[in-house]
């Protein structure tokens, strides 16, 4: 998709100056708190609909369900921050659950590392294809999605593979401090570590520069290609970790297990307020977004809405959230 970057500010007088650090307008401030507001509002609404919802048990169950989604969305957020999109995360996650179930008997406790490494490597291949062949990221990852699904179907013979040895992932089903599910703790840990690494290194400005204006970043000497490949690698590795969580919860690996997580993951990213045009956003935002999406998913049946509406809601949310967070000053023509 070609999204021409404005070279000359005169061409679009309505565009805001490219300075990022300017004082945000009131609308921007509200928009930036939108995910938290949405989260609190949802919690309140669900508690009113069903007072039993705000109990420790149901909240624990809700955050436990959200863990794979949080990890998936967090990884893909990096790619979005660089201005691209990763549509392959769900298919890669499904493929990784198959890897996990197949490798577990041979590798034992090392399987988790092996799966994360393999998924990261596959992500890196996509990133390299994107920067070397100069194909738009959504084409690469759309192709990747199709290829990973095919590989998963072929190696698993199109059926679920049971995980017999449950000791390797038993720790994921523990609780930290008695309340917080370990999988959710790990998910938050991933978000925190990746955010911290980005914050404490020049990576933050690299990623933002790449997302805000790739050509300017290139001229300024930012290693744009390396940053992008790294983003895709992290995205792939996160898909692998999410797969471990899914497989440990379902005690099996299946070639289509995570396929329905693509839309919620994209929704989590855009609901969190990360701009699809790149540059603006953070992993913490996607964590909030993932919680909002999970609450919607858990909450709809509570208020008595048929689950078919879930899909319609996702569609509407994605379009609405993107419309709110899109940086229009950067894109002259919307394709």
């Amino acid at each position: 998709m070609s999204t021409p970057v404005i070279a000359d500010p005169v061409a679009n007088p309505a565009a805001e100056p490219a300075v990022v650090t300017g004082a945000p307008t009131a609308a921007q401030r509200v928009t930036s708190f939108m995910p938290v507001i949405a989260l609190v509002a949802l919690l309140a609404a669900l508690t009113i609909a069903d007072p039993d919802f705000l109990t420790q048990r149901s909240l624990t169950a809700a955050v436990r369900t959200s863990a794979p989604l949080v990890v998936l969305a967090a990884g893909a957020t990096l790619v979005v921050l660089c201005g691209g999109i990763d549509l392959s995360i769900a298919a890669l996650c499904s493929l990784s659950t198959v890897f996990f179930a197949m490798w577990l008997p041979d590798l034992g406790g090392l399987t988790i590392l092996a799966v994360v490494a393999a998924a990261g490597a596959i992500g890196a291949v996509q990133g390299i294809a994107h920067v070397v062949l100069r194909i738009p990221s959504f084409v690469v990852t759309l192709g990747g999605m199709s290829i990973f699904s095919a590989i998963a179907l072929v190696i698993s013979d199109a059926g679920p593979i049971r995980v017999i040895d449950r000791d390797a992932t038993a720790w994921l089903n523990l609780y930290v401090a008695g309340y917080v599910p370990m999988s959710f703790f790990v998910a938050v840990l991933v978000v925190a570590v990746v955010s911290l690494v980005i914050k404490l290194t020049p990576l933050e400005s690299f990623v933002r520069a790449t997302g805000y204006s790739e050509s300017a970043a290139r001229l300024a000497g930012t290693p744009v290609d390396a940053v992008k490949v790294a983003a895709f690698t992290v995205s792939g590795a996160c898909a692998g970790l999410a797969a471990v969580m899914l497989a440990s919860r379902n005690f099996s690996g299946s070639p289509t297990m995570a396929d329905n997580l693509l839309l919620p993951a994209v929704a989590a990213i855009v609901v969190g307020g990360t701009a699809i045009t790149g540059g603006h956003g953070s992993l913490w935002r996607s964590l909030t977004g993932a919680l909002v999406v999970t609450l919607l998913r858990v909450g709809l049946p509570i208020v008595g809405v048929p689950s078919a509406w879930e899909q319609i809601l996702y569609g509407a949310i994605i379009v609405a959230a993107v419309a709110l967070t899109l940086d229009r000053s950067k894109v002259l023509i919307i394709k």
Binding site: V139, S215, V266, G315
Partner: protein, 337 residues
């Protein structure tokens, strides 16, 4: 090639414009590839080179051809459409509930089919409106509309599969004319209609122009937005018809009627020479692409490759075809999103 020695020294012979050679390769490549692939499979498998299998290929290509007709117009504008599974699912269930079926007393016949196509057009309209009024990129709007379509389909499905009893609709997949199923002739008709729209209507010409240089078109005083919406609506109508065709083939309405058709259609269009950047290709190109994809799918199964690889092969083809297409502008095009 004109030899420079013979040319009149006073007349400056303008060099042949270079892009044209690229375009002609783009135009001639896919049909040549089709012939080559066909010959290879015919040589490899004796089952492949039978008249019956040729009919199979044509019949298997029918639905994909209709989807590809629609998506070609969107791709010509430089946009993308991921809404195929949702739109096809919704129209497949809708038509199954409107013609004679086991769920309710409806027997609308042709009118039901028309309503299903209009539902598809309506969902396409939704994508187009979100694109031009909210200014959300098309891959996001259509991803959203796909989810909406699947949700609508699931609501109508309501847990009980609608099986159709309508003789006419079921007959489309069964009855043959000149050796090909009626559905295949419908697809041929769609390709023809699509080509006429592309070639002779303002909509088709502007779709090209939007893909080539939208700014220029807008600066020339053309209101681009209505044409964009119209293109998405037209594409939605094609997907709607494709959903009806799948219902005819299965004799039942399924929510997953359109699963995988989005990617297959994009593959077909790209392989046929319709560039994702817009402004190139067309319905006839995509039709060749559809035959290429179908022959490849059929041939690989005939020579003993697992059908599960089908999607993987399509994925590789898309990446390869797109990278081949952007290769000439590789140096110029530094920014890829």
């Amino acid at each position: 090639m004109t030899s420079p020695a013979k040319a009149d020294p006073d007349v400056v012979v303008p060099p042949r414009p270079r892009p044209r050679r690229g375009v002609s390769l783009l135009d001639a490549g896919p049909p040549i590839a089709l012939v080559v692939i066909f010959a290879v499979f015919a040589a490899l498998s004796s089952d492949f080179r039978t008249v019956g299998n040729l009919q199979n290929i044509m019949d298997a290509a029918a639905v994909l051809a209709v989807v590809a007709c629609g998506i070609t117009f969107v791709l010509m504008m430089g946009s993308i459409d991921l809404s195929v599974p949702g739109v096809m699912g919704a129209s497949a269930i809708a038509v199954a509930l409107l013609v004679a079926n086991n769920r309710n007393g409806n027997d609308w016949g042709l009118l039901g089919i028309l309503v299903a196509i209009l539902l598809g057009a309506g969902l396409g309209l939704l994508s187009g409106m979100a694109l031009v009024s909210l200014r959300v990129p098309s891959f996001m709007t259509t991803l959203g509309v796909s989810a909406v379509g699947l949700g609508v389909a699931t609501l109508m499905f309501a847990g009980v599969q609608p099986n159709i009893d309508d003789e006419m609709l079921h007959g489309w997949a069964v009855h043959r004319f000149l050796g090909l199923a009626y559905l295949t002739w419908i697809a041929v008709g769609c390709v023809l209609v699509g080509w006429l729209i592309q070639r002779y209507s303002r909509l088709g010409r502007y779709a090209y122009a939007i893909g080539g240089a939208e700014e220029v078109l807008a600066l020339s005083g053309v209101k681009v937005a209505p044409y964009k919406v119209a293109v998405f609506t037209l594409a939605g109508a094609f997907y709607g018809l494709a959903g009806v065709m799948v219902t005819s083939q299965l004799s039942a309405g399924l929510v997953q009627a359109g699963k995988g058709y989005d990617f297959a259609a994009i593959t077909a269009a790209v392989v046929g020479g319709t560039l994702l950047t817009g402004g190139r290709g067309g319905v006839l190109h995509s039709a060749v692409g559809v035959l290429l994809v179908t022959v490849l799918t059929n041939g690989l199964v005939q020579v003993g490759v697992s059908p599960y690889w089908q999607g993987g092969v399509q994925g590789l083809i898309v990446v390869a075809a797109v990278s081949a297409a952007v290769l000439p502008q590789r140096r110029r095009n530094q920014v890829t999103k």
